[in-house]
């Protein structure tokens, strides 16, 4: 570690330790509320500055990056970022898991593909209608599923994802089966076809940045605070008059729409889709990415999506299959050693320098074993 700025680092580490007593403890989602809800003028301004800088860099990339291969990687970064933001909100802020979000990406992709190739709609309205359909499906599946907790919700969403995948493969007359859909038209904007990678880059990143901004704003809204409250304890939250079921459904639908829009962008970008890409593996990969990036704040989604796009590029040199292995192992390591994910790594490093890694207090601060059956239903 470089020595500069040590005074400031120590101070902020101390401040962090004061705000988050269980830092380093296993109760990874205990202190999440403080992290997300910690508003304050400084927190708000620095968050805003980071967003502005990130947007500026992301949107101006095509000016100094002309290699179309790198641009395509960045486009996939944006497309992966959208569902990861949704999962980050769902997992991190509402504490609900979904192992079926690839289905919503699939619905968006197939919705866009079929509406444009079969019914001759323009890409933008097709994207909108596909998102609407995904929202509808999310409501239908979310109302019963979100009443379930923990493992049950995970299994229900997993089953939902499998069913959608089977339908995409089996409804051959509609979806083309395993052959997929070819000849999907590219997006257009004001007469300009977005086949130009630089133009597509700006549009897809604009969409991703809007989603990022919305997600960053969430903790400061009434819904965001409600989510943080119900994440900590649903019973207390509902006793305070928070409509737990409604807010959970809200964030589930939003995350489904983000995923659907990502699917639409994907379909119009690669112009060909087939069902096998939208299976459980993608759902699991997205959750892994969101977790590895870090669930304590929305920026974790950026780290996670970045890793999801970059790691295959690095590992493809050896064998592309190593990527999934790496993600599976990484997510275990992160859960055990770095519950705040990559986004929390710098703060963790600072804290490591100042204080012993595990104090006696944090070691014994394990949460009590949950009562059986209490996770079944609220």
């Amino acid at each position: 570690m470089p020595r500069f700025g040590q005074g400031e680092g120590a101070e902020s580490a101390a401040a962090d330790a004061a705000v988050k007593p269980s830092e380093g403890g296993r109760g990874s989602d205990r202190d999440r509320g403080d992290r997300c809800g910690r508003g304050g003028a400084w927190g708000w301004a620095s968050g805003n500055l980071a967003f502005l800088l990130f947007s500026l860099v992301a949107l101006t990339m095509p000016l100094y990056l002309t290699n179309s291969y790198y641009l395509s990687i960045l486009a996939f970064f944006a497309i992966r970022l959208m569902p990861t933001i949704g999962l980050n909100l769902l997992l991190g802020q509402a504490g609900q898991i979904s192992l079926g979000h690839a289905a919503f990406i699939g619905l968006g992709a197939y919705g866009s593909a079929l509406l444009t190739t079969r019914w001759g709609l323009d890409p933008w309205p097709a994207m909108f209608l596909a998102a609407l359909l995904s929202a509808l499906v999310a409501v239908v599946i979310g109302v019963p599923a979100l009443r379930l907790k923990g493992h049950y919700l995970a299994m229900a969403t997993l089953g939902f994802g499998e069913i959608v995948l089977i339908l995409l493969i089996q409804l051959k007359g509609l979806t083309g089966g395993t052959d997929g859909v070819v000849g999907i038209p590219p997006l257009e904007l004001g007469g300009w076809s977005l086949t130009d990678p630089r133009l597509f880059h700006v549009v897809v990143w604009s969409a991703a940045l809007i989603m990022l901004r919305m997600a960053l704003n969430l903790p400061r809204t009434r819904t965001g605070r409600a989510l943080i409250a119900l994440h900590r304890t649903e019973i207390a939250a509902s006793s305070l008059g928070i409509d737990v079921a409604f807010h959970k459904l809200q964030v589930f639908v939003v995350s489904a729409v983000f995923a659907s829009i990502a699917g639409s962008f994907l379909a119009h970008y690669v112009m060909f889709i087939s069902p096998e890409g939208f299976g459980v593996t993608l759902s699991v990969l997205l959750v892994a990415g969101a977790v590895i990036g870090g669930l304590a704040g929305v920026w974790g989604a950026v780290w996670g999506a970045g890793l999801m796009v970059l790691l295959p590029e690095v590992l493809a040199r050896y064998n592309e299959d190593y990527t999934l292995l790496a993600f599976g192992l990484l997510v275990i390591v992160v859960m055990i050693f770095l519950p705040e994910g990559l986004a929390g790594a710098p703060a963790k490093l600072r804290a490591l320098r100042r204080t012993p890694p595990y104090t006696v207090a944090s070691r014994t601060q394990a949460e009590p074993v949950e009562e059986r059956g209490s996770e079944c239903r609220s």
Binding site: R26, G27, S28, D29, L91, G95, I97, L99, P144, A145, R147, L148, K149, G150, H151, Y152, A154, M155, A156, L158, G159, F160, E162, I163, I166, L167, Q170, I235, V280, V284, L285, V287, A288, V291, N319, D321, Y322, L324, L325, F327, G328, L329, L330, V331, I332, M335, I336, P339, A366, E367, P368, V369, E370, E371, R372, G373, S374, E375, C376, R377
Partner: protein, 296 residues
């Protein structure tokens, strides 16, 4: 549909149902001891089948290959508990789900790197002509599947009811804290449970591989169906797991035969998941389970 066809579907259903039952038993063992649902359970089934194929093609006699495969997967299960589960035993449910999901991704991909993408099969345990029951054929392997499944279920019952260690495991299921206060080594019980669960799952994998092909990706589907079976019978009840497994197998097999719209067997898997969703949404305590009192 003739009686012969009907019986044929029933035998097919019981056979695959037995494997779902063993997978569901694996879920139940771990859930009872730790409250964790192991999302990597199906991968243990897959690893059992693939390991047996490798050992057999490496020259080991079939019986030795089967036992060896179960032993290998048991070791994997023990390592999984020590490395991934133990540090998170007291963590939130979300963290435990994510870790076992991550492990399933890692195990599946590792299996693909080791065994490739090809689906493989074992030879049948015994070479004999299929039996004929009212015109429906029953291959010898079906009898093996049923027999070994029954044996495992009985052995588990004896272990849990009659032995001191089994009673200790059940005590941990009721209340880990109280069990620890009575001097039961909770950590070792959890370790034992993961080993046993992996062994049961691997046995299921070895049994089914001569009938249906096994590949690195088979585990996810079997795992999800095993969970559906466990849920159907009421999560946490070993008897329910077996009943749920057989019921699911029968429903799946008969719906392929009976329902007109599912003429293509491509929808067969969807039926299991539809049942899973229906049970989860309408009766999450399972068909046999009691509605537990709500704790606030």
């Amino acid at each position: 549909m003739s009686l012969q066809e009907f019986l044929q579907f029933v035998f097919a259903g019981i056979t695959s149902g037995s494997v779902y039952a063993l997978t569901a038993l694996g879920f139940t063992l771990i859930y009872n001891a730790t409250g964790i649902i192991n999302f990597a359970q199906g991968e243990f089934v897959m690893l059992g089948g693939l390991a047996a194929v490798s050992l057999h093609s490496g020259g080991a006699p079939l019986a030795l290959a089967a036992i060896g495969a179960v032993a290998v997967v048991t070791v994997v299960g023990l390592l999984f508990e020590l490395l991934a589960i133990r540090p998170l035993l007291n963590a939130s449910i979300l963290a435990q789900i994510i870790v076992t999901v991550g492990a399933s991704l890692a195990l599946r991909t590792a299996a693909m790197l080791v065994w490739g993408r090809e689906a493989v099969a074992l030879p049948a345990f015994t070479e004999r002509a299929p039996l004929s029951v009212f015109g429906a054929t029953v291959v010898a392997q079906t009898l093996w599947v049923l027999g070994v499944t029954a044996l495992i279920v009985i052995a588990l019952q004896v272990f849990y009811r009659r032995t001191m260690l089994g009673k200790a495991v059940r005590a941990c299921a009721v209340n880990p804290m109280a069990a620890r206060l009575l001097g039961i080594p909770y950590g070792r019980v959890v370790l034992l449970t993961f080993g046993a669960s992996a062994a049961v799952a691997a046995a299921g994998g070895v049994l089914i591989t001569p009938i249906s092909f096994m590949s690195y990706s088979s585990g996810a589907l079997i795992g999800l169906k095993g969970f559906a079976a466990a849920i159907l019978g009421g999560l946490g009840s070993p008897a329910g797991a077996v009943a749920g497994g057989l019921t699911l197998g029968l429903l799946e097999s008969l719906s392929v035969g009976l329902l007109p719209w599912s003429g293509t067997s491509g929808y067969k898997d969807a039926i299991a998941f539809l049942i899973l969703l229906l049970v989860l949404f309408a009766r999450p305590q399972g068909l046999l389970g009691q509605r537990s009192a709500q704790k606030v």
